[in-house]
């Protein structure tokens, strides 16, 4: 188990290093922050001076290693759009809102997806199953920003059930969480359904039926317990989807999280903040997957010896 963990941690660190190269490279490819920092009427001399001050005139590899050195010490530079604040500090201020919304989205998607997945398996090839497939199709096909706007329009404006935007009480979570979690509903539902179908065909389920165990108990206790392993492993992937989805959903719903911050930072060419957001999201995603891998290895010892 220790060897397994050591290998996984080393792989995670390698992945973080690769992401740091990509984050650094992509932000530099998008143009210089000097262009957005300077006043419109600034001339070439002022641009050159600011470029020198920010160290952007040095070779790109020198800039990268300086950046990496800072990252190792937890210093990702100062924010450009929030003078006086550190980039990582700005991101950390916004992360709780993102994680809270993401967590809520996972709960909402689980509450909706698991029962539908189970029932579509139980009522295989019926109208209910067909309806479930349509939900899955729509869920995976509908872009989250479009779904978010539709939800705002129907439930926020027309029915006036929920606030259209912003962060506040419990009701503020509902629409963004549904919009964020809807894709996961479709995916989770499909995984649950196929897993349930496999389990429902197994011998021990048939035996339970022969023994006269009530059908609800067979489905919701015996079958679901075993069928749940596959959806559980999917939660590592969900963490990534939720974080990347937050960029769009938080912008549409004016949610003060790190996703919205990423959009603002990109618009302002705030390199340090963009890099801090990317690396933080990557770290959360890698940690979540590491956790899932470890749990999976714990549950299924065969994994450790592969």
């Amino acid at each position: 188990m220790r060897r397994f963990l050591a290998i996984r941690i080393a792989q995670s660190l390698l992945a973080m290093l690769a992401i740091s190269v990509i984050a650094f490279g992509m932000t530099h490819l998008s143009g210089s922050p000097v262009d957005s920092m300077l006043p419109e009427d600034a001339g070439p001399e002022e641009a050159a001076q600011l470029t020198r001050e920010l160290g952007l005139d040095r070779p790109i590899h020198v800039q990268y290693f300086k950046f990496l050195g800072r990252v190792m010490t937890g210093n990702m530079g100062d924010s450009i759009m929030s003078p006086g604040a550190s980039a990582l500090g700005v991101v950390m201020d916004r992360m709780p809102a993102t994680l809270l919304l993401g967590g809520f989205a996972i709960i909402v998607s689980t509450i909706i997806a698991i029962p539908i997945g189970v029932l579509t398996a139980v009522y295989r090839d019926t109208a209910f199953d067909a309806a479930g497939k349509i939900i899955a199709l729509l869920g995976q096909a509908a872009p989250p920003f479009w779904l978010g706007i539709v939800l705002i329009w129907v439930f926020g404006v027309t029915l006036d059930w929920f606030p259209t935007s912003g962060r506040g009480g419990f009701s503020h979570f509902v629409l963004p969480a549904i919009a964020m979690g809807w894709f996961q509903v479709a995916a989770l539902m499909r995984i649950t359904r196929s897993s349930m179908l496999e389990v429902l065909d197994s011998e021990y389920i048939k035996l339970a039926r022969v023994k006269g165990v009530p059908e609800w108990r067979i489905i919701w206790v015996h079958a679901l317990r075993n069928a749940a392993i596959a959806p559980l492993t999917y939660f590592g992937v969900i963490a990534g989807i939720i974080l990347t989805g937050s960029v769009v959903i938080e912008t549409v719903f004016v949610w003060p999280g790190a996703g919205q911050l990423a959009v603002e930072a990109i618009r302002a060419r705030d390199f340090p903040v963009v890099q801090a957001v990317v690396l933080t999201f990557a770290a959360v995603f890698i940690l979540a997957n590491l956790l899932v891998d470890t749990l999976y290895a714990y549950v299924d010892p065969r994994i450790r010896y592969r």
Partner: protein, 547 residues
């Protein structure tokens, strides 16, 4: 036995389905709020949904200026809410300049108190604020016009700015452009910049309460020196990027005023909303023929560009159906055609003859456009006959993409080869500074600048995103004007320049546009603002509550 088992299974399945549905309904019941949120719970708090600022800071000088701090931080010179004229009703009660406009002396209002007990506003605060706004970290657009001088307190209520060169239009910088907000020196001395970051003290009609990731909050001041008490006790500006969300907030009653692109304003009006309109045009729109960097044999001058030929420039102007564009881009009205961007009625060099001649010499005429192209030998005489259009997003002007799409269609229709170049706004600036912007580039002149400042911004070295036309004659005239303090002479030079630029078809003048902002008439009854600031909005204290 088998039938019985099946019946039992189906019955059980129905029970399970019903149970599952009941559980979901129950869960939804828990999630759903107990009652609909009342659309208009209170009118004591005004909520505006506005486009997010490009910075999250209370330091005006390092955050690109916007409406963000207007309710609390005042400029030196106040503008009349109707005429936009500079008045002595603000922090400065009067001003005078020496003969050559190198010294400006401002008399300050006595008894003005900074919020949160930071004492009386004095000349020391002006000197302090000038240092902040002209420092090395200042990113205020147009700060070059403010820099290069010295601010000194002559006494407690008198401050003087001294410059080496004439600053004829200094008041524009302190009023309409509002490049310098007045911060409290006492607060700085006591708390430093951290104090400003936490809670800055201003002198405006609203006290700053907090700056959050998605909103800035204010509360009204009941004893402002102007004697005006805002109708709303609290004011919150929410930063909303998505236009659909802004409209939804307005219709759901979560925001009472919001800025929308003009096509969505129509939807807001259909839903019973009203619009407040600026008293004066807020901006002029135009398209610049970039890349004509030909002053003093500049190597960046590209004589092979199709639009280097004046006939092509005229043909492009003739290809555009401005009336149609106006109806599509600004259906809410409030826009009018202008003869030249940067030429404003009442400003130096204004020539009404150009306005009269405009339709005949710039108007939509496809036959004339084709003739001009033929005479110029288009496309065969040009190494690369492609007309490049910049597709970008300019803050405050959401119509730009549609405008450029229309231009693309008009030019294609008449026979030009056209392509788009997608660049973000900062990228356009970078290309302009490098003098490598070879394209037709949309321009926003907001607020319409005084003539001299417009000439310096658009037609003189060393270039910028809107630097199109430049030649030795134009540059020489601009220098003459900048250095002249004789008003009559300046007016004549400006008029000659306007006529020359007009006849050279140096750009594509489009529209004069008023700021229109939708509001909920159940909460707001009106808003009087001149539209003479960069963002278009100002005078937030004059937003009137519906009775």
């Amino acid at each position: 036995m088998k039938v019985r088992y099946l019946t039992q299974t189906i019955r059980n399945a129905r029970v399970q389905a019903l149970s599952a549905i009941s559980a979901m309904v129950f869960t939804l019941g828990l999630i759903l709020p107990s009652g609909a949120t009342p659309a208009m719970a209170q009118t004591d708090k005004l909520v505006l949904a506005l486009t997010p600022p490009s910075g999250q800071s209370t330091r005006f000088w390092s955050t690109p200026p916007s409406w963000l701090f207007d309710p609390s931080l005042e400029s030196l010179v106040e503008q009349d809410p109707v005429t936009g004229e500079y008045t002595g009703n603000g922090l400065a009660t009067s001003w005078e300049h020496n003969k050559d406009f190198t010294e400006w002396t401002f008399k300050l209002r006595k008894g003005v108190q900074f919020h949160y007990g930071f004492g009386e506003f004095t000349a020391a605060d002006v000197v302090h604020s000038y240092a902040l706004h002209t420092g090395p970290d200042s990113t205020v657009p147009g700060v070059a016009q403010l820099r290069g001088g010295k601010a000194e307190a002559l006494d407690r209520y008198t401050v003087r700015f001294t410059y080496d060169k004439p600053r004829v239009r200094l008041l524009f910088m302190h009023a309409a452009r509002a490049l310098m907000k007045i911060y409290s020196k006492a607060q700085f001395d006591k708390e430093g910049l951290k104090g400003y970051d936490r809670r800055f003290a201003g002198t405006g009609h609203f006290r700053f309460v907090s700056l959050e990731p998605t909103a800035i909050r204010y509360e009204r001041v009941d004893n402002h020196y102007s004697g005006i008490v805002p109708d709303f006790r609290e004011m919150e500006m929410r930063f909303v990027a998505e236009n659909a969300t802004k409209l939804a907030m307005l219709l759901a009653g979560e925001a009472h005023i919001t800025e929308l692109p003009r096509e969505l304003v129509v939807d807001a009006l259909k839903a019973g909303m009203k619009t407040a309109q600026s008293a004066k045009p807020t901006m002029q729109t135009d398209i610049v023929f970039n890349g004509l960097y030909c002053e003093s044999k500049d190597p960046n001058c590209r004589r092979d560009l199709p639009w280097f030929d004046v006939r092509i420039r005229e043909a492009i102007n003739r290809s555009l159906n401005r009336q149609e564009m106006l109806e599509v881009l600004f259906p809410g009205g409030g826009a009018s055609l202008a003869a030249r961007h940067s030429m404003v009625r009442g400003n130096e060099g204004y020539d009404p003859m150009l306005v009269e001649r405009f339709e005949a010499e710039y108007g939509y005429d496809l036959e004339k456009a084709k003739q001009l192209m033929w005479h110029a030998g288009y496309p065969d005489s040009f190494k690369d006959p492609t007309i490049t259009l910049i597709m970008t997003a300019i803050p405050g002007q959401p119509e730009i993409p549609l405008q450029m799409e229309m231009v693309h269609q008009y030019l294609t229709k008449v026979g030009f080869k056209v392509k788009f170049k997608e660049v973000d706004h900062a990228g356009v600036g970078a290309l302009g500074r490098a003098r490598k912007l070879y394209a037709l580039n949309p321009l926003r002149n907001a607020p319409p600048r005084p003539t001299e400042i417009a000439f310096r911004a658009f037609y003189s070295n060393p270039g910028g995103p809107y630097q199109g036309w430049e030649d030795d004659w134009t540059s020489a005239r601009i220098k003459e004007m900048v250095n002249s303090v004789d008003m009559k002479e300046r007016d004549q030079i400006a008029r000659r320049l306007f006529n020359y630029l007009y006849e050279q078809y140096v750009d594509i003048p489009l529209f004069e546009v008023f700021t229109q902002i939708p509001y909920n008439p159940k909460v707001v009854s009106g808003w009087q603002f001149p539209g003479a600031t960069t963002s278009g909005y100002s005078h937030f204290h004059l937003i009137k509550a519906a009775k």
